[in-house]
Subunit: 415 residues, 2 copies
């Protein structure tokens, strides 16, 4: 028996998580094992192992089976333990401004299903959760076993201080900008986590959706081989995320990756954040569209501008390139500070192709220490709009297997 | 017995470190314990515990003793295990441009001795190591037991990719700027680590000395309560370090914390890094001294300028304030990106007091997202020129107790 399990972050709690990971890892690598074989391989006492295996079995992650009589030689049958292939399922959900994206992976971390639904930006929290339920029901039909659900990672708009397992763990920044009707800030987020945990019967982790897109690109996407990644998203707003030593960085009160609010024009225009001349005021989809129209171009939306830029239309190339240079210059300061190996550029503007990325790359190189220039790689994002939902899953997989303990708790998000 | 100990970073190796930490932690909290008591508290099998304790005893970290006959009731005496109070000693060394600093802590992490020696900047590697030996000999007289030495953390000038336990683990950036006669780059650093490990009989960890000063401020200094810290040093050069989630950040090839090479004047002067208009060209001690002279001030060195600024002399206040504003503006971009809770300003320029820090603070606030302004704290560094040596110790203490295993290996730095 382990003592002091009330400590959540002490060496005993860490050790406990280590024991669970070890048992799961041995079963993953060796296939079914008896308790005695597990014990011999993991170095744990009989009591500790019994305890760990009991908990893992209670969650459904590990199943016990007895080989049939034909395979047995003699004596009492020896029970063997194995991973339940369906037990590790995780759902990722992105509650974006105008759409919901859902993705599901199995225990082997393969994506077994994805789905997206657009909705009006005014849709309220209850409406969004109802939409999620419908989408999850669809997926349940073929690929999802709700009873085997391990955890749910949810991306929301707005700052989130950390990815808490319980409400109140991570108060949002006082006065953090929230968007009407989105669950990004404070109480809304907790209400959302509570609702989803109740409806889907699994613990819910919440994080900012742009940050989750960053994590997804670093796990499955453009930077899957890199441990230090800067992800910038040029979209309705300009935001981003940092992956530091393989983990999502949060910063104080969740204000990390706010590249859009780096001031690039001291006497520039007012930004919605309250600042002046922020990168977002010159490099967001809206700002680029406006610049294109001001240059005499005709376009209904940013997709028309990026398509024109891709086709080489001079005015479109010009405004996209100008935005790209501002992005590169702003990010160079950040890259000198944190030395990432990879910069990933995502969001609608990336559809403009080299007209954008070549300029980001050039301005970035110009602002970097010469010695760092050959060490930094710039790549367009590859996961598209489903990225943040996949990031929700990555968030779950980066968490401890302890989460798998409470799959059916009503208040699963309080563990 | 644990299997697979050849894995250095797998779950088994991590578990092994966890077991060692647990045993050390239990002995720290409970005082001497018998093997049976330890076993009951830690949940490890008899074999595993025997193995762990054996290794810890071999390093001298744990000592076994038998209570004398008077205290025994009957039967075979029960051996009790305890921490050796002298076993956790660690040395921190800073090989700065013109001086060597050495600090020593005991197992309780109390600083038991510090010493500094200035030298000519031309002094070569062998000369510096000889100086270190003399200084360590001095400290050995009263406070240091070399046989009980756990590890040595060394700060050097120039980029270091990570804090390796072995040569070759961390190649420096190709073409990284090295300074003649300093061990900052590549082969020099490895030669230094090898020499010191051999002379002092303990494993050697090497890192950039400005980064170690950042770590020290976050462990014992101005930001001792913060987990996300940005440290900037305004001195001969302008450099810094980032502490992210309590750990020193390295970035790719050690190019992290290079705040001095954020470009602040696109058409500014050439920097020694090869870039143009870097922060270092306007906010280093030399740049401020030059600006003061250009403004008609008379001063032999930067200390005279900071003293004049502290006394309110307008020209001195003016040049220091201008440098402070540039620093604040450059750091605001970085703070929007990584969201630290604390910015620490160190180096000779800090002697100017509020003339500097008030302007750094003001420009920082101006460039930060409004919502982040109340969340960021700016403080002057408190550890002075011995900071990096203390950082070397922090580097050792942040490493696993596994290091304590090879205190007498000739090639201690290869473990």
């Amino acid at each position: 028996m382990l003592c002091g399990m009330q400590q959540h972050d002490g060496p005993l709690a860490r050790l406990r998580r280590g024991h669970e990971e070890l048992v799961l890892d041995l079963l993953r690598r060796h296939g079914p094992l008896s308790r005695a074989e597990l014990g011999a391989r993991c170095g744990l006492s009989r009591t500790t192992l019994y305890d760990i295996v009991g908990d893992l079995a209670a969650t459904g992650a590990v199943v016990a089976s007895v080989p049939d009589a034909g395979q047995r030689r003699r004596g009492r049958p020896v029970e063997r333990l194995a991973l339940d292939p369906a037990a590790g399922q995780a759902i990722g959900i992105d509650l974006a401004r105008r759409a919901v994206h859902v993705a599901v992976v199995n225990v082997a971390h393969e994506v077994v299903g994805t789905t997206s639904r657009a909705h009006a930006p005014e849709l309220d929290l209850a409406g969004r959760v109802a939409l999620v339920e419908e989408m999850v029901d669809e997926l349940s039909g073929d690929s999802l076993r709700l009873a085997a659900l391990r955890a749910i990672g949810v991306g929301v708009v707005g700052p989130v201080a950390s990815a808490p397992a319980g409400p109140g763990d991570a108060p949002n920044a006082p006065g953090a900008p929230g968007f009407p009707g989105t669950p990004g800030a404070g109480g809304h987020r907790d209400a959302l986590a509570g609702l989803l945990a109740k409806r889907l019967g699994a613990p819910v982790l919440v994080d900012n959706n742009t940050r989750l897109a960053a994590l997804a690109e670093s796990v499955w996407g453009a930077a899957a081989d890199a441990r230090d990644v800067l992800y910038v998203r040029l979209s309705h707003g300009v935001g981003g995320g940092l992956v530091v030593d393989g983990a999502l960085h949060h910063g104080v009160s969740g204000l990390s990756g706010e590249f859009g609010h780096i001031s690039v024009e001291p006497r520039g225009r007012r930004c919605q954040c309250g600042g002046t001349g922020c990168l977002e005021t010159v490099a967001s989809a809206g700002a680029v569209l406006e610049a294109y129209r001001a240059a005499g171009g005709v376009a209904d939306d940013i997709a028309a501008v990026t398509a024109a830029a891709l086709a080489g239309e001079p005015a479109a190339v010009g405004v996209v390139a100008a935005a790209g240079r501002r992005v590169g210059t702003a990010l160079a300061a950040v890259c000198n500070a944190i030395g990432p190996s990879t910069v990933v550029v995502g969001g609608e503007l990336v559809a403009a192709g080299a007209a954008l990325t070549d300029q980001v790359r050039a301005a970035l190189a110009e602002g970097l220490m010469p010695v760092a220039r050959p060490l930094l790689d710039l790549r367009p994002a590859v996961l598209g709009e489903g990225g943040a939902a996949l990031g929700g899953i990555a968030l779950v997989l980066h968490r401890s297997p302890l989460l798998s303990r409470y799959p059916n708790r009503e208040d699963g998000d309080q563990s």
